[in-house]
Symmetry: C2
Subunit: 145 residues, 2 copies
């Protein structure tokens, strides 16, 4: 994957951080199929990778009723962070986006059914719950030479 960049073996260059606009951050988040939901569990910081889609400006994911995400996030309107990135360690280039917002279980059956069709779980198991995160704060950066 990085054969063209790891040859030569010069000292790795340090990069600058360029802030991304909110619109560009959401565009990049929508361009990738998975990210990481960040929440609090037993008063400790917790994180789980999960696949998502962005629909009408909201991050949509699926969960099962027996999962940690269901217990800690979907069962009440938890404030969560959601992070996605594409980082190339060989070239030290890429981007990361962090969204902070309230995660809500989609209760309306028709809305839940519509969104379920758009998110295809990667893992086996009952994944009937649909969780929607409305972005309140959106930040992103890009590594630039």
């Amino acid at each position: 994957m990085m054969s063209s960049t790891t040859s030569g073996r010069t000292a790795p260059q340090r990069r600058n951080l360029k802030e991304l606009s909110e619109a560009e951050s959401l565009r990049r988040l929508a361009s990738v199929p998975f990210g990481r939901i960040v929440f609090t569990r037993h008063a400790l910081p917790a994180i789980r990778p999960v696949n998502h889609v962005v629909v009408d400006g909201r991050i949509v994911l699926r969960s099962g009723s027996g999962t940690i995400i269901s217990a800690e996030v979907a069962s009440w309107d938890a404030v969560v962070a959601y992070e996605a990135d594409e980082l190339d360690a060989g070239r030290r280039l890429g981007w990361s986006v962090v969204v902070t917002g309230v995660a809500r279980l989609v209760a309306d059956p028709e809305e839940a059914a519509r969104l379920r069709e758009l998110v295809h779980p990667w893992v086996e198991g009952e994944m009937d719950q649909v969780i929607s995160i409305r972005p309140e704060f959106v930040t992103g950066f890009e590594l630039v030479p």
Copy 2:
């Protein structure tokens, strides 16, 4: 990157989660150059990508005194989570590891100098602080067919 797997376009298969042992989780964490530190900021969940090395069973990273990580994590012994993964969205395979533990600023000048030589920051700026996370809980999973 995924040209061999996206041809064919059959319906994507769902995977099972296989738990990784603590030793295997730490081995995988040490095999990758970056992860994401998860902490609390203004009572909200927060996350930042950062590059790391694993030294003597601890996760070691560098930070600058003006950064958010410095203010929220290094200035007191914060409990953090640290996540790293290698996930291939095309094949729906890969792994993720989450470590929870106390993050401490390495205060001893000789120890800090030794560790600074092992972690090379990706971004420009003063990155004199060395932060060490001692794993208390280690979990990991692998996506398997």
